[in-house]
Amino acid sequence: MAWQTIDRLTPVVDEKAPPVLSEAVREKIRSFFPRYETRRAALLPALHVVQDALGHVSKAAMKEIAEVLEIPPSAVMDTLSFYTHFWDHPKGKKVIVLCRSLSCQVMGADRVLQEVKDQLKVEEHGTTADGQYSLLTEECLAACDHAPCMLINEKMHKRVKADDVAKIIKDVKNADVTMPRSHLFDKPAAAAVELPKTSDVKEMKDA
């Protein structure tokens, strides 16, 4: 539920700790600036970049993102907490996302879910003790023709049968098909528009 705050247990940021974002990550975030009229618009790409680099977006990382974007840290927290794809605490190396919407359900997603739980001994939205796997359920992944389907990091597994779950998971474990999480590491962009001055925006508003 997007409007519920889930986590109040993460400790507050240690002011003396060294920064968590490397210069490369900061540079990557800055490369998104020319795309948009405001810095804040680069927040979603920035969160993706940081989550790719660190695996999650900690409170400290949020603060540093806020610095780079020159917005209040609360704005970062506000946005992050809305989206299911961003997490503020560590998840497993491989994130399994199972679809639970109607097409997949009538094709047997429940049984697949149960099988994954049994195989990995993990609950929904939980992480295995060894930190290898996290299990999430999400709404329709727009692959209903392949129902029931399951994303493991970036790879879509189609028409998953309960009997195949063990094999798929084992495959991912042994053969190295670990994929990077959604990475936005494409080329930096040219400027979209000559950035208008703030006064310009106001003018248009008044008109």
Partner: protein, 454 residues
């Protein structure tokens, strides 16, 4: 009837079609060149207007008309391409981006020119990993060939195009939710008016269009308005991608003129090819989850912008059919649907946040074998009091929730009552005592203070 020649999917199966030169060798980017070098933007808007192209994103709003709402004296305009596709049962945008990325890019060029946009943002849901890489590669190639950027086709027109990835929220498909999300905020839909055409992204005039709508544009330019109008029915011109999923022999994405019947979509040889061995149809949700359900007897419903309403549905939606098999427990189907909306409500409006959540709670209870017949009335009651159509909420999500939930309860009422009658005796009392007393204290709205809104 002559066999239908696909338009939007005409390049499917052509080897290497994702590459620019292959796409070009099949006449690609000729339409864009024609529009940019020979037409004025207003001319292009006029053409799209007269073609009768209606938005494919769900609302069916006439596309040319939307473009003509932009204020004429604007300096900066943005084009947002809605590739958020998260309506359950829908995947045609995914297929378009996978199979023919340059078709979309060409459409963006023309739509961008017609609306005099300075930048185009493709808002893509984050779960589209493979599709993102495909489209980004195509975009890079187009940039390298000078198709995007500055001075396109030797004219003075400049257009930048970016892919912006979402982060998993259904409301970000709503056009103002999408805009908020693009601005780096929570995807909270805005109160309208002002409509995006007047004040959208970064408070500039903005056009939001679905991927499939944009993909139709180059074909209208290439073959003309009359040709486009000759496909489909009178009020619903043009080709449409239909998708079908669930226990059918050939689930997938198929192109047909608007007005295909739901039965054909499921059983037609060119489409779903019938049900899997041993499965029968109980019902079908023909247009993405939000439009409502058809029973087996109603399958002859034509899927266009008008006919669906005769069957009590919200509209055409995205034309993504979900087939519900005869052996599915209708109570679980209801619980699944209500869960979706209660999970995806963004929580701004009380009616939507509470309404969808209570519907889920009631449905869960019924599914747990502790329903009451009065619960069914309660569900219908709640769905009538939470939508945008009744002026009670900011965006259309609760309307989209109301239709499937209400139609499923109304059309399958006998089945629900049957289940409730055969429930374990004492189950309701047990739940009241031990599980959630509060949930059963709900008054059954007999004499309502709130007027039914829809």
């Amino acid at each position: 009837m002559a066999k239908y020649e696909p338009v939007l999917l005409k390049n499917v199966g052509v080897p290497d079609i994702r590459k620019l030169d292959v796409y070009r060798s099949r006449g690609g980017y000729a339409s864009a060149k024609k529009v940019l070098t020979e037409w004025t933007p207003d001319q292009a808007v006029e053409i799209i207007k007269s073609s009768g192209l209606r938005g494919r994103g769900g609302a069916g709003f006439p596309c040319g008309m939307k473009w003509s709402f932009l204020p004429p004296d604007r300096k900066i305009t943005y084009l947002c391409v809605n590739a958020d596709e998260s309506e359950p049962g829908t995947f045609c945008n995914r297929v378009l981006m996978e199979e023919d990325p340059h078709q979309l890019l060409e459409g963006i060029l023309i739509a961008g020119f017609a609306t005099r946009s300075t930048a185009a943002y493709i808002y893509m849901r984050v779960e589209f990993h493979e599709q993102f890489h495909i489209l980004q590669k195509a975009l890079d190639e187009a940039y390298a060939a000078g198709l995007f950027g500055k001075k396109l086709f030797g004219t003075d027109y400049n257009l930048e195009c970016y892919i912006h990835r979402g982060a998993g929220a259904y409301v970000c498909g709503e056009e103002t939710g999408l805009i908020e999300s693009l601005e780096g905020k929570r995807g909270w839909p805005r109160i309208k008016p002002p409509f995006p055409a007047i004040e959208g992204l970064f408070r500039r005039p903005t056009v939001v269009n679905n991927v499939e709508t944009i993909c139709c544009v180059p074909h209208i330019v290439e073959r003309g308005v009359e040709w486009f109008k000759s496909i489909g029915t009178e009020n619903s011109a043009g080709p449409k991608l239909y998708t079908v999923s669930g226990p059918v022999k050939r689930p997938g994405c198929f192109e047909a003129p608007l007005g295909l019947s739901c039965r054909d979509l499921i059983f037609g040889d060119d489409y779903g090819q019938g049900m899997l061995e041993g499965k029968k149809v109980k019902g079908c949700i023909p247009g993405g989850l939000s439009v409502g359900v058809l029973t087996e007897k109603e399958l002859d419903c034509k899927l266009d912008f008008d006919d669906v309403r005769k069957y009590g549905l919200l509209g055409l939606g995205t034309a993504g059919a979900i087939v519900i098999p005869h052996d599915a427990d209708i109570r679980h189907v209801l619980a699944n649907i209500t869960r979706f909306y209660s999970h995806e409500s963004c929580g701004q409006c009380t009616q939507c946040r509470e309404g969808t959540n209570w519907l889920y709670k009631i449905a869960k209870r019924i599914a747990a074998g502790a329903g009451r017949v009065a619960d069914l009335d309660l569900i219908v009651e709640v769905t009538k009091n939470m939508g945008m159509m009744g002026g009670l909420s900011i965006c259309g999500l609760p309307d989209g929730a109301a239709f499937p939930i209400r139609t499923i309860v109304e059309k399958f009422r006998d089945e629900f009552e049957d289940h409730i009658r055969r429930q374990e005796p004492g189950r309701v009392e047990y739940m009241i005592k031990h599980v959630n007393p509060a949930a059963y204290e709900l008054p059954i709205l007999g004499s309502r203070s709130v007027q039914a809104a829809v």
